[in-house]
Symmetry: C2
Subunit: 362 residues, 2 copies
């Protein structure tokens, strides 16, 4: 039995109801049923409608299930960019989206600030020729976030035809997006939704759909089984093109029922309350300090701290109490720790974590 | 509680040990651990070595975990075909691979025989210019198979540089391939490995790797996160590029331990013994008959029968006994049934199914 509580930034703690839902899934043989059955279509439709409700998603958005957020990067470029994309880069994951565009032969432009910094949106010029503007609402590697009010300013900055993409991999459902001011948002289920990994969710509006169709009609290859038109064709009958991760779609639907019962407002309030506790601790600590300087740019869901004690030693200490935080990303492996503050993490667990981190100051 | 036994051709019955492995996975919090942790690397390495042992895979082969066999079709074309591929087509899935090549802008050639027929390999001419030869060992839609001895003749038929790809989605580990005479084999875990869906396995040899590198060096885009070189870079440290379906990789490793304990020879013998029972029944039945005429081309793992009673009525009858077969594929939905004969299906379950199908003859 593993009793450890994981504050790793994803995969992370499962939402508390997941073990019970998994037991029910096994009893109902959800791993066995056909992905072309009526039973699966109901599971799919339930997950989709649960998500639409939680996120208050406008009708002009489609919900697509793919394998990972990493896949979304590739599909976004294939389906929505003929020549040029523009990327805000301030960490490893936003950089990876930029690199994906280049690997796929596109002209990718970037506006880059150092790892751990947020963006001064006022100063950013979006090229007139950019067809896709890649924003990163929450950079999981550095703990920097882009506030929703800043995201909302890009519609005016970009050309009329540009599609605004928002990486919310490790923050949704926390940010209350204005979906009418962006065109696509995507996330992974192993972060704030507290599920096992192996499913990415890609939300696109009718503008993304139209662009994909236009590229396809122009003779450009926009991919094969996961083009936007192909995804939509199956989504309209609550199915996927390939045999998907049925079990995870089932679990997502169940967790969304739980989350909707609780209400997204409560989830957001709890996220903020726990984040406040963590940041207050970091600011007062003699060992740790918030890695992101500007409080406005500090993520509420993936909180990164500089540490004067190597991250590996921090985790050795925490292990005695069955606790674990994430180590820093890449070259910050030992000089930073990352603390996930997801809906699965309770205030009690956060308080216990901070209590044990505090012991390192003695 | 769902007590039905599913003979659907995938997703299908879970391998009998899966519920117990899933319980253990939840107790060990496998859905929570990081995909960059040592614990995950051990899980990955265990699944890979279990597969190498079961399939007696030569060292020059790499094992890659992707999202689905559908994904393999796309990646195979991107990584291994500059201009032209050649496809044996005799059903919906082999046709789909051919169409994938065309969607990705390649010149795809095909040798097509009617749905439900096998191939007369003697008569097939492989174009000298084909860079990839797509063989389908087991056509899940029609129940036609390509015997291993026929597969082995394509190395001589194709040009020296051509890569021979084998679709074994719904048959491995049953076919005892000569891996030195082919270059890539792929399958999905929700068929004969008895796992929940959401994971494809792609086996490639060094010739496939070399071709991908040559295409990349020539300046062709071979994709982004799932190019063969990128997959290999991570596989060498027992990791994946993206956050994968960790739970399924864990379950695959556990089922492979169980299968290796039993031994692949026993699994193959049992598969043949159950298939013999099913085909004997079909040949003697007044309602059903084998859909594939030539016994040599009849699949041992996905057995398709013509039915004079609509498939939906067959399943209505079977439902009374908590049994279900697959309906026919596509336009054969009601005129055929498909019976999965996977390692998860016991002889006792097969006998019970045949007993209840026999009642329809009265």
């Amino acid at each position: 039995m593993n009793n450890k509580v994981y504050f790793t930034p994803g995969p992370s703690e499962l939402y508390p109801t997941v073990p019970q839902h998994m037991q029910e899934a096994m009893a109902q043989k959800i791993g066995t049923i056909s992905h072309r059955s009526k039973q699966f279509q109901e599971i799919y439709a339930g997950a989709e409608s649960g998500l639409r409700k939680l996120l208050q998603l406008p009708d002009e958005y489609e919900v697509f299930f793919v394998a990972s957020a990493t896949e979304v990067w590739e599909r976004a470029i294939q389906n929505n960019v003929q020549r040029e994309s523009f990327h805000l880069v301030n960490g490893s994951f936003s950089k990876r989206f930029y690199e994906t565009a280049k690997e796929l032969g596109r002209e990718a432009q970037l506006h880059e600030v150092p790892f751990g910094q947020g963006f001064d949106v006022e100063s950013i010029n979006v090229p007139e020729t950019a067809e896709l503007v890649a924003l990163i609402q929450n950079e999981t590697s550095s703990g920097a976030c882009l506030p929703v009010e800043d995201i909302n300013r890009f519609r005016e900055k970009a050309s009329d035809d540009a599609l605004i993409y928002v990486d919310a991999v490790s923050s949704l459902p926390y940010p209350a997006f204005d979906y009418t001011l962006v065109d696509s948002v995507y996330f992974s289920v192993q972060k704030c939704f507290g599920l096992p990994a192996g499913l990415g969710v890609w939300l696109v509006n009718d503008r993304c759909m139209a662009k994909a169709r236009a590229l396809q009609e122009s003779g450009l290859s926009i991919g094969s089984y996961h083009t936007l038109p192909t995804l939509l064709e199956k989504a309209l009958v609550s199915q996927t093109v390939e045999t998907p991760n049925v079990l995870n779609i089932y679990l997502l639907g169940k967790v969304l029922e739980d989350m909707n019962r609780k209400g997204v407002a409560t989830i957001r309030q709890e996220t903020e309350a726990k984040a406040a506790q963590i940041y207050t601790f970091l600011e007062q600590s003699t060992v740790f300090s918030p890695a992101v300087e500007n409080p406005k740019h500090r993520s509420k869901t993936t909180i990164v701290a500089n540490t004067s004690i190597p991250a590996s030693e921090v985790n050795s200490h925490l292990a005695k109490y069955d606790l674990q935080v994430g180590s820093g990303y890449g070259k910050y492996k030992d000089s930073q720790i990352r603390i996930a503050n997801f809906p699965a993490h309770s205030m009690e667990q956060v308080e216990r974590l901070l209590e044990k981190l505090r012991e390192l100051e003695n």
